[in-house]
Amino acid sequence: MTEPISKEALRTDEWTINMGPHHPSTHGVLRLELTTDGEIVSKARPSLGYLHRGLEKIGERVAWAQFMPFTDRLDYLAGMNCNCAYAWAVEKLAGIEIPERAEWIRVLVCELNRISSHLVAWGSFCADMGAFTPLLYGIREREWVNDLFEMVCGQRLTYNYARIGGVSHDLPPGFLEKTKEFCDYFEPLIDEYNRLITYNKILVHRLKNIGVISARDAIEWGLSGPNLRGSGFAYDIRRAEPYSVYPKLDFNVVVGHADRGTLGDCFDRYLVRIDEMRESVKIVRQVIDRIPDGPVMAKVPRVFKPPAGECYFRAESPRGETGFYLISDGGTNAYRLKIRTGSYMAMNIFEKISKGVMISDIVALIGSFDIILPETDR
C-alpha cells in the first residue's frame, strides 16, 4: 500500500553555517550564525564582541583630554566625527564656549569625513555585491579627503584633531582652496557613480525589496542615521537637535523614497548615502564661503576638571547617532563614559529582517547597514 508523499516527508534539514568572524563581507570581525535551508536563511544571529577593547572603561581611566585619540578608534572611517562629538560632549558638560572659527572648522572636517566614510561604505557595498571597481574608485576619491586631513592635522586615519575647547591646529594656508577644488572635482563624480553602478539592473535587483524596514520598526529598534532615513523617516540630528553651526547652514535631510522597490529596502539605504554625499558637498561649500577668522582654541586649564554632573550629547555621524553619555565627579577623568553608536543599533534588527532572505542577501544586508565593527564592539 503506498501513501501519497506528503510535504512533510519532503522536508529538508536545516544546517548551521558559521559566517565570520573571518569572512570578507562582514566588514571586519562580525560573526553570524546562519541557520539555512539550502540557500534560504531562516535565522541569522549576529554574535558580537570579537573586537571588544573596553573603550568605555579606558575612558574612565584616562584624563578627559587623553581619551580623544581613542575616539578615532571608535569608528575608524569617520574619526573626525567621533572626535568632534566627544569634544562637543565634554564642552557641554563643562559649559565651555568655543571660538566661532573652531565650530566652523569642526563642521567642515565632519562633513568632509562624512563624504569619505560614505565613499568607503559605497565602495565596499559594491564590492560585496561583486563589483570590485567601485571600491577602487571610492578609495581613490577618499585619498583626496585623506590628503586634506593630513594637511590639517598630520594624519590620514586617526586624526585626533578636535580638542576640548577647539581644534588642535588652525587650517593651514591653501586648505580652503584645495577643499574647493575637491568639491568641484567630486560633485560630478557622484553622477558618474550612479551611471556606473547605482541604476545597474543587476544591482537594483539585488537590493530592491531586500531587508525592508518600515519606519515604525526602524524607530522601535533604535536605528539612526542613514539606516533610519532610508526607511523614509526624516530624522537627522543636525536638524532635529541642532548643534554647533548647523542651524546656520542650508542642507536637505535626505530620506529614502522607494526609488525602486519598497520603502526602506537596501536600495533606499544605499541611495541615502549617495545623496548625502551631495548634501555634504553643499555644506562644505557653504563653510568655505562663510568661515570667519579668529582663534581656534578657547582657554582651557591644563589640568582640566569639569564640574560634577552628567550630560548626554549626540551628533550625527555617518553611521547614525554617535552619542556620548558622560558623568563627571569633578575629577580629572570621567566617572562614567558611555558611547552609543549607530552600527550597534543596526545589529539589533538584523535578526528580525534576515528571516527568509538568501545567503547572498545577508551580504547585502550587512553592506546596507554600513556597519563598522570597532563601533559595534567598542
Binding site: 561583486g130 563589483a131 571597481t133
Partner: protein
C-alpha cells in the same frame, strides 16, 4: 558523405596530417607508434597552449583591472610586469598542497583533474587555423558540450570533498548553474549548425568563407543569428562562471566557493580549467559567428601551408582574444547576480529567447533557401 569543402582544402585537415607532411621520415616507423607520437605531440601542443593562454590571460586580466580601476597592475616582474605569470606559476607549483584534515582524500585529489580535463578537452575541436585542428571531429560542437559536463562533476566533487559548508554551497550553485546554462549555450549555437549543415567546427568555419570579408560571418547572416550571438555570449559567460554570474566562487559571499580549501597546484588546475573553458567558449563563438580563421578578402587555403596557417591562426586568435577581453571588461564592471535571479534569467529569458531564435533561423533558412542578407544583397547587385 564527403564534405564539399574537403576537396577545396585537400591537405590541411588536421595537425596530424601536417606533422606527417612536415616529417616524411616517420613513414618508416610502425603505424601505431606514429599515431601515438602524433597524439602525444598534439596533446602537448594543446596543454602548452592552454598554459600559455592562462598565463598571459591572467596577466592581461590583472593589467586590465589595473587600467580600469585607475591603478597600474603587476609591474615589478620583468618590464611592465610581463613575466609576472611565470612567477605566479612557479609559486603555484611550489606552494604546499594543503588538504583539510577531514576531507575525502580520494575525491579531493580527483576533482581538480576532472574540472581541468573537462574544460580543456574542448580544445581538441577548436579550429585554430586553416589546417590546425587537433581532430576535426564530425560531432565537434556536440563533443564540446559533452566533455564540458565533466567540469560540473569536478566542481561538485571538489566542493563536497573539501568538507566545508561554504564550499558545498558553492559546489551546488556551480553544478546547478553549469547544468542549467548548458541548455541556452547549446540552443544558441544550434542556429549556426543549421546554417552550416554540420556539427564539425571546421566545416562551420568553412561555411562562412568567401570574399565578402566580414559579411560572410554568420553574425550578419540574418537578424536572428545576430541576436543569437549575444545570447550565446551571455549564456557562455554564465556557463564559465565569469563575473556577473560567478556564483560558485563569489569571493564576497562564499570565499571562493568550491576552491576555498584548495591550494598550490590543485588550485592551479581549477584556475587553468576556468581559463581553458573561457578560451573554449570564446573560440566557439569566433568559429560559429565571427568567421573563425577566415582572413578578410583573402583565401587562406591558397596561401601555402606556412603562411596560410600562420595568418589564419593570427586572425582566429585575435578574434578570440577580443572576446576574452570583452568578458574581462564585463568582469570589472558588473556586480554579481543572485542565484535565483540567475536561474530566472536562464529559464525565463535565455531559454525562451534561444528557442525563438532557433525558430526564426529555421524559418529564414526555409523561406530564403539558406541565403543570408549579405548574399541576397550581393545577388541584387549581381
Amino acid at each position: 558523405m564527403e564534405p564539399v569543402a574537403a576537396t577545396v582544402y585537400p591537405n590541411y585537415d588536421s595537425v596530424g596530417r601536417a606533422i606527417l607532411e612536415a616529417f616524411p621520415i616517420i613513414d618508416f616507423l610502425p603505424v601505431w607508434l606514429v599515431a601515438l607520437v602524433i597524439m602525444v605531440v598534439v596533446a602537448a601542443c594543446a596543454i602548452v597552449f592552454i598554459l600559455v593562454f592562462e598565463g598571459v590571460g591572467s596577466l592581461v586580466l590583472r593589467k586590465l583591472a589595473g587600467d580600469i580601476q585607475s591603478r597600474v597592475g603587476p609591474n615589478r616582474v620583468g618590464p611592465y610586469g610581463c613575466i609576472q605569470f611565470l612567477a605566479d606559476g612557479v609559486k603555484l607549483i611550489l606552494k604546499e598542497d594543503l588538504k583539510p584534515a577531514a576531507c575525502d582524500r580520494v575525491l579531493f585529489r580527483l576533482a581538480p583533474y576532472l574540472a581541468f580535463v573537462g574544460s580543456c578537452a574542448g580544445l581538441v575541436v577548436i579550429p585554430f587555423a586553416v589546417g590546425m585542428i587537433a581532430a576535426d571531429l564530425d560531432i565537434g560542437i556536440y563533443y564540446v558540450m559533452a566533455v564540458s559536463s565533466l567540469v560540473s562533476i569536478g566542481i561538485l566533487l571538489g566542493g563536497w570533498a573539501s568538507n566545508n559548508k561554504w564550499s558545498l554551497v558553492g559546489a551546488m550553485r556551480g553544478a546547478a548553474q553549469i547544468v542549467s546554462f548548458e541548455i541556452p549555450v547549446a540552443m544558441s549555437i544550434i542556429p549556426v549548425i543549421l546554417v552550416a549543415g554540420s556539427l564539425s567546427t571546421q566545416e562551420i568555419v568553412r561555411s562562412q568563407g568567401g570574399l565578402f570579408g566580414i559579411f560572410n560571418w554568420n553574425l550578419f547572416h540574418n537578424p536572428f543569428l545576430f541576436f543569437s550571438f549575444f545570447v550565446y555570449l551571455t549564456a557562455a559567460q554564465a556557463e564559465t562562471c565569469q563575473t556577473p554570474f560567478d556564483l560558485p566562487e563569489c569571493e564576497s559571499e562564499l570565499v571562493q566557493g568550491f576552491m576555498t580549501e584548495y591550494s598550490g597546484i590543485r588550485f592551479g588546475y581549477f584556475f587553468l580549467g576556468e581559463f581553458g573553458e573561457l578560451f573554449v567558449v570564446c573560440a566557439l563563438a569566433t568559429a560559429g559567428y565571427l568567421g573563425g580563421w577566415h582572413i578578410p578578402f583573402l583565401d587562406a587555403g591558397n596561401l601555402g601551408w606556412f603562411w596560410g596557417n600562420l595568418l589564419s591562426l593570427g586572425v582566429f586568435l585575435t578574434k578570440t582574444f577580443t572576446l576574452v577581453l570583452v568578458s574581462m571588461w564585463l568582469r570589472w564592471t558588473l556586480p554579481r547576480t543572485r542565484v535565483d535571479q540567475l536561474m530566472r534569467m536562464c529559464w525565463k529569458y535565455l531559454v525562451p529567447l534561444t528557442f525563438f531564435n532557433l525558430l526564426g533561423v529555421s524559418l529564414w533558412l526555409l523561406i530564403f533557401d539558406g541565403k543570408g542578407i549579405p548574399a541576397m544583397i550581393a545577388a541584387l547587385f549581381g
